[in-house]
Symmetry: C5
Subunit: 107 residues, 5 copies
C-alpha cells in the first residue's frame, strides 16, 4: 500500500474516510509547511462530532516537525483534520493492508 501524505492548510478542514481505503492509515509525521506566519500551528482531528483532539503543535524556527503514531481504520467514521495558525501542516505516513481475517470480520 505504501506512502500516504496530505497538506492541511489553515482554516481549511480536510477529511479522510477510512472506508474509502483498502488499508489502515498510519499517520506518522507532521511537518510545518511554507508561509511567513510566526504564530504556532496546531493540527487537531475530530471524528463523528466528538470534541477535537490536538495532535501536535509546531513552532516556526523552533520545532518544525514532530513524529506521530496514529491509526485510523474502517471502524472510525470520517476523520476531519483542521489546522489553526498561519502555516499549513503536512501529514505523512503509510497505508497498511488489512489482514485477511480482519477483512472477513469487517465486511
Amino acid at each position: 500500500m505504501g506512502f500516504w501524505g496530505i497538506e492541511v492548510k489553515p482554516g481549511k478542514p480536510q477529511t479522510f474516510d477510512p472506508e474509502s481505503e483498502d488499508g489502515k492509515l498510519h499517520v506518522t509525521q507532521a511537518t510545518l509547511g511554507d508561509g511567513f506566519g510566526r504564530e504556532k500551528s496546531v493540527i487537531q482531528c475530530s471524528i463523528g462530532g466528538k470534541a477535537p483532539v490536538y495532535l501536535c503543535s509546531l513552532l516556526t524556527n523552533k520545532t518544525e516537525c514532530c513524529p506521530l503514531n496514529l491509526e485510523f481504520d474502517d471502524e472510525d467514521g470520517i476523520v476531519e483534520f483542521l489546522v489553526t495558525g498561519t502555516r499549513s501542516i503536512h501529514l505523512s505516513g503509510y497505508l497498511e493492508a488489512y489482514e485477511e481475517e480482519e477483512e472477513d470480520e469487517l465486511h
Copy 2:
C-alpha cells in the same frame, strides 16, 4: 478500533478503565492545549493507588508536543491521568483489538 483521544485539564483528573474497552489502548502523543500559562505542564498517571509516574513534561513555546508509546490493557486497573501546570494536555493514540487467543485467556 482506530483513533482515541482525550483532553486532560489541569487539576481535573481523568480516568480510563481498560476493562470498559474492547481493545488495548496505545497512547502515542501528548500535545499542549490552549491557555495562557507559561509554566510547564506535566502529565502523570497512576494505577491502583501506586505512586504516580510522570509521562511527559511540556514547555510553552519550546516543546509543545511529545511522542509517547504506552499501552494499557485489561490487566491494568483503572488508570488516572492528572495534569499539573496551567494548560491542558491532549493525549491521542489508538485502540487495538485483542487477539482472539488473548481474549479467550482473559475472559
Copy 3:
C-alpha cells in the same frame, strides 16, 4: 535485509524505485548533512506526479535530526526525494523482507 541510507543534496532530487528492492523500505531518520548554510533544510517526497509532501524540516544548530516512520513498497511508484535549503539531508532506515504470502500476492 538490514540497513539502508542515502544523502540527498539540495536541489538534486534522488529517486528510489521500490520495485528494484527485495524488501519494503522503512525510512526512520533524517539528519542534517555538512555545510555552512543557516537556512532551514526541508526534505519532501513525491510519488507518481502527486503533490509533494514535506517529510521533515531541520534547523541548523537547533534541531539537526528527526525520527521518521515511513514505508515504501512495491505498490508505490517511483519515489522522488528532494531537499530545499542549503544543506544536504541524510536519510536512514532499513529494508524488511516481504512476507512470503505478500510476495505470492504481489508477483
Copy 4:
C-alpha cells in the same frame, strides 16, 4: 500486562530483575522529575557489571522528556538504572506477555 513506571532518584540506583516479571519490559519514555536543579540529568543503565550506557540526557526547561525504545527480557541479568544530576527521572513503558513458544524455550 500493561503499564510500567518507576522514578529513579539521583544517586540512588534502582534495579529491575527481568526474571521476576511475567513479561518483557519495554521502556518507552523518560521524563524529568521535580526539583530545582538546573544541571542536566542523565540516566544510564548497566547489566551484569558491563560498562554503563547512557540512555538519555534531559535538560531543565529545554528538553524535559524523551521517547525511548528499550527492551529487557529474561535473558538479561539484573538491570541497574542510575541517574546523575540533581533531578529524578521517571521511566515509563509497558510489560508484554512472552509468546508461548518463547516461554517453552526459556523455561
Copy 5:
C-alpha cells in the same frame, strides 16, 4: 536477547558484526556522552565501503539525545560507527532473536 549498548568515542570507529550475534540488532537511541566540547557531535555508519550515512547530530545543552530506529542483520556486512565532534555518543537498543524460519533460510 534484550538490551544492547555501546559508547562510541570521537575519532575511534567501532565495528559491529551482525553475524557474530544470535539476533537482529535494533539501535533505538543515541545520547551524548561526557566531555566539555561544545561543538556538535555526529554519529555516522558505513557498511562494506559504502559512503557513510549520518545517523544523528547531537548538540550540547540543546539536543543531547535522539530516538533512532535502525536494524542491522546477518545480511549486512560489518557495520562501522564513527563519531565526529568532541564528545562521545552512547548508542542503545536491543537484540531480537531471529524467527526460526528466517534462521533456516539464512544458514
